[in-house]
């Protein structure tokens, strides 16, 4: 096999403060034509920088050394690389929402490089653009060429970007986390598309990802990176079957698996604490005249007759894609949102009926943990102040509160000495621990955790999940766990409710919903989730047809405790 690209001893550094920070430290790799080469690593591993350095997209101040030979041309050489870039090497990025220029038509953006660099005629370029759009699965391509990016959905945009990268028939495509920003069902389609393009055109593909599932699904060969250095390089089968390095092993071990059913002990379920009875919530969308802009992603009907219950010591997972209304449901249960109709009862009390201090006391019963660890702590409060605050609000004396705060800090696995530190001195995982400690401070009976691990690296995610489970057991909390990741859900939840467009389409025990799902949407979600095991690749469905809109209104109990919308 002849190598398309061979990178030798790549170093990238950038001036930082008074010194120099090394971002990539001696990476070597080779990619052959028709090969899918994955670079995998956690945040800060230097995987994206490696890709950008090949494309000459590094910040001006960055310095590179080493060679990256492509067809005898060193891609790190800025002057030479320009002629190769775009023509022979293409790239697609993580955020399809921002990777297209919002004021130019799709047609213009697709054809401009072909016209101005490759010297193609406008007519030919458009013709080719239409062909490519067709081939990436975009209907009515000719019409679509005249449209603007905002008229496309995220998945569609990523298709456009792929088509755009294919315009010059590149021999090497670099895809930097191309599906991270997409919902799992769309991710599966895009990955499928990329794979078929590689097979069809025999180009090389460098796929950069943090997701072992994607790696297992796609890669021929894998490079594991950590802190700028290569940890391990192997074929995908070898890596998953017998990782040689401890880091690789740890990484693989931390990945939650949907396909492996763990034996879970039966939870000690107590009284039903949370009763949500047919709540509905509608958001005004778009720009409104006299108030601030609402989140555009929020669909008009965020909640549509949603009912659920959570009992003491039980974990209910609320699963769905973006815009499904799962977060809205969580906020409604935490009484941070007024619903239009329906009732939320916590320990028998209708929370909407409360006001003033009763409202505040009842709020303290239900605590939330949020997705983004960076903004979920007040930057002006020390960690101690943050954790103590809920107790102080409840009238606990300050010194007592601080003492308890330090105990809580200890409980979530952080040193008591950190009490006086401020959030900016902490990592994401540590902050999430602090957020958990704060949630516990008011001694709540219900915790709503809204994607608490989505922003974290996979190794940290495992720790946080363990902590949550332990705390739930210890305090017999009712835990509502909101997530888009079925594998995580499988690991943590006792019961699952699947949401789609503001409605619950299926609910029941983890076994029922995930192993013998009855609703097509649940099945689609499960099928779309990448399985971190290359051996199981073949068993999966290769094509997934989009799900038709159902008018599912009524939930039917198909087996005890297992409800499916019909």
């Amino acid at each position: 096999m002849t190598m398309l690209l061979s990178v030798t001893d790549l170093h990238v550094s950038i001036p930082f403060g008074r010194g120099v920070q090394t971002l990539v430290d001696g990476v070597s790799l080779e990619v052959a034509a028709g090969e899918i080469f994955c670079i995998v690593g956690e945040s800060g591993s230097g995987k994206s920088i490696t890709a950008k350095s090949l494309m000459g997209l590094l910040p001006r101040l960055a310095r590179t050394s080493g060679t990256a030979l492509f067809d005898g041309v060193n891609l790190l050489d800025k002057d030479v690389a320009t002629s190769v870039r775009g023509r022979d090497v293409g790239m697609i990025f993580q955020e399809p929402m921002t990777a297209l220029n919002p004021v130019l038509t799709i047609g213009c953006q697709m054809t401009e490089a072909a016209i101005s660099v490759a010297g193609m005629s406008k007519h030919d370029a458009q013709h080719r653009a239409i062909e490519l759009l067709d081939s990436v699965g975009i209907n009515q391509a000719a019409k679509r060429l005249r449209q603007y990016p905002h008229e496309f959905s995220g998945g569609m945009r990523q298709r456009v970007l792929i088509a755009m990268a294919m315009m010059n028939e590149p021999r090497l495509l670099i895809a930097d986390e191309p599906t991270t920003a997409l919902d799992v069902t769309v991710q599966s389609q895009i990955l499928h598309l990329l794979k078929s393009l590689v097979r069809r055109t025999n180009m090389g593909l460098i796929l950069i990802t943090h997701d072992m599932g994607v790696v297992a699904e796609m890669a021929d060969r894998v490079l594991v990176m950590q802190r700028g250095k290569v940890v391990e390089s192997a074929t995908v089968e070898t890596l998953f079957a017998a990782p040689t390095q401890p880091y690789s092993r740890a990484l693989l071990a931390a990945v939650p698996r949907l396909d492996v059913i763990e034996q879970k002990e039966q939870p000690a379920v107590g009284n039903t604490l949370v009763v949500v009875d047919r709540i509905s919530k509608r958001f005004e969308t778009g720009r409104r005249w006299f108030t601030r802009q609402k989140d555009v992603l929020e669909s008009a009907q965020a909640l549509d007759n949603v009912s659920l219950t959570v009992a003491e010591g039980e974990v209910l997972a609320l699963v769905g894609e973006s815009g499904s209304g799962k977060s809205t449901a969580g906020r409604a249960i935490a009484n941070l949102l007024k619903v239009d109709s329906g009732v939320v009862r916590i320990a028998g009390t209708d929370v909407a009926s409360l006001s003033g201090s009763a409202l505040r006391t009842s709020r303290a019963q239900t605590q939330m943990i949020f997705q983004d660890p960076y903004s979920s702590l007040d930057p002006r409060f020390s960690i101690g102040q943050t954790i103590a605050e809920p107790m102080i609000i409840q009238g606990v004396e300050k010194s007592v509160a601080m003492r308890q705060a330090s105990q809580l800090l200890d409980r979530v696995g952080l040193s008591k000495q950190l009490l006086d530190r401020y959030p900016h001195e902490f990592s994401g995982g540590q902050r999430q621990r602090v957020a958990i400690a704060r949630a516990l401070a008011s001694n709540p009976s219900v915790i709503v955790a809204d994607e608490p691990t989505s922003a974290l690296d996979v190794s940290i995610q495992a720790q946080i999940l363990d902590l949550l489970l332990a705390l739930k057991k210890e305090r017999s909390l009712a835990l509502l766990f909101i997530s888009h990741d079925l594998a995580v859900v499988q690991q943590i939840a006792d019961r699952v409710a699947v949401m789609r467009r503001g409605k619950i389409v299926e609910s029941g025990s983890v076994q029922n919903v995930l192993q013998s799902s009855r609703h097509a949407y649940t099945q689609l979600l499960i099928a779309s989730a990448p399985v971190p095991d290359p051996a199981k690749r073949a068993k999966k469905m290769t094509t997934i047809s989009p799900l038709p809109d159902g008018a599912e209104d009524i939930l039917q109990e198909v087996s005890p405790g297992h409800w499916v919308a019909r």
Binding site: F370, Y374, E389, I393, H424
Partner: protein, 291 residues
């Protein structure tokens, strides 16, 4: 992974670090130096000024800057150096007071609108928008037209004129804070309105407002000096720089320094506050550093 891009965590310095950061940039050093000099001159004018700034014929008329009179004398034989020093006091007074007016009123409007939401938010912010489109100059001019020309009225006018801007800035900063999860977390912990506004919203909005207010001092000084220049602000014998500049026009041929010096004084002061404000911005918000 999305937030991994934020891994350069937003850092919020404690006070001593702030000063060190200010002094870490040339902008901060120069700005701080100019502003300190100005404040020093204003505070110690009584000791530093060799003459009474309004006393006439302390020297010959139209004396060029020199040893006896550092910055020369004006058309009445008053000492320019003393006048500039006392002028610094007026300038600071004008800048600080009018910004204080704009800041307190503007911040209250912004905080309440962002926190309370609903119809109150609409009413407050829509009226602010309306006033904002009038521009500060027009508001200030209208106020002076109603109140009549005097330094006090100029300060009030400039203060009122600034309100919409401060209200808007505070409002949008508050909205950002209010939408952050920590705010909801605190609400979920049962915090009352006062705690939410005073302990969480205000301290987090304050850095932005300090930057805005520092830059605002320069705007206010310019606006008030402009009014005085037009004869709508300070009245004689106050050694207000804008008024001095305006009065020196007639003597341009004979004594050009009478016009140059107050103009330079205003420009330097404004520059000082602008630099300081920029430095504050950089020091308080690292993401702004590369802007």
């Amino acid at each position: 992974m999305k937030t991994a891009a934020n891994s350069m965590a937003t850092t919020y310095p404690k006070q001593p670090m702030l000063l060190r950061r200010l002094l870490g940039t040339p902008t901060g050093v120069i700005g701080l130096a100019i502003v300190s000099l100005l404040i020093g001159g204003a505070v110690f004018a009584d000791f530093l000024a060799p003459y009474d700034p309004t006393k006439m014929a302390v020297g010959p008329r139209f004396l060029k800057p020199g040893a006896e009179h550092l910055l020369g004398t004006d058309e009445f034989g008053r000492d320019m150096y003393s006048r500039i020093l006392y002028g610094a006091r007026l300038t600071l007074l004008v800048g600080a007071t009018s910004v204080l007016i704009s800041l307190t009123v503007g911040m209250s409007i912004g905080l309440v609108a962002a926190y309370r939401g609903g119809w109150l938010e609409s009413v407050l912010m829509r009226s602010t928008d309306v006033l904002f489109s009038f521009t500060e100059t027009l508001i200030a001019l209208s106020c002076v037209a109603v109140l009549g020309p005097s330094l006090k009225n100029a300060i009030i006018a400039v203060g009122i004129a600034g309100i919409p801007f401060y209200a808007r800035t505070c409002y949008s900063a508050s909205l950002v804070e209010r939408s952050k999860p920590y705010f909801e977390a605190t609400m979920a912990a049962g915090a009352g309105h006062a705690r939410l506004i005073v302990r969480h919203l205000l301290p987090n909005v304050l850095p932005t407002m300090i930057v805005v207010a520092t830059l605002g001092v320069s705007t206010a000084i310019l606006a008030a000096a402009g009014l005085s220049f037009l004869g709508l602000g300070a009245q004689p014998p106050l050694p207000e720089w804008g008024y001095m500049l305006s009065g020196a026009r007639d003597y341009f041929n004979r004594a050009p320094w009478l016009m140059t010096i107050p103009g330079l004084a205003i420009a330097l002061t404004v520059l000082g506050f602008n630099l300081l404000g920029d430095a504050f911005r950089t020091a308080l918000d690292p993401t702004e550093r590369h802007r």
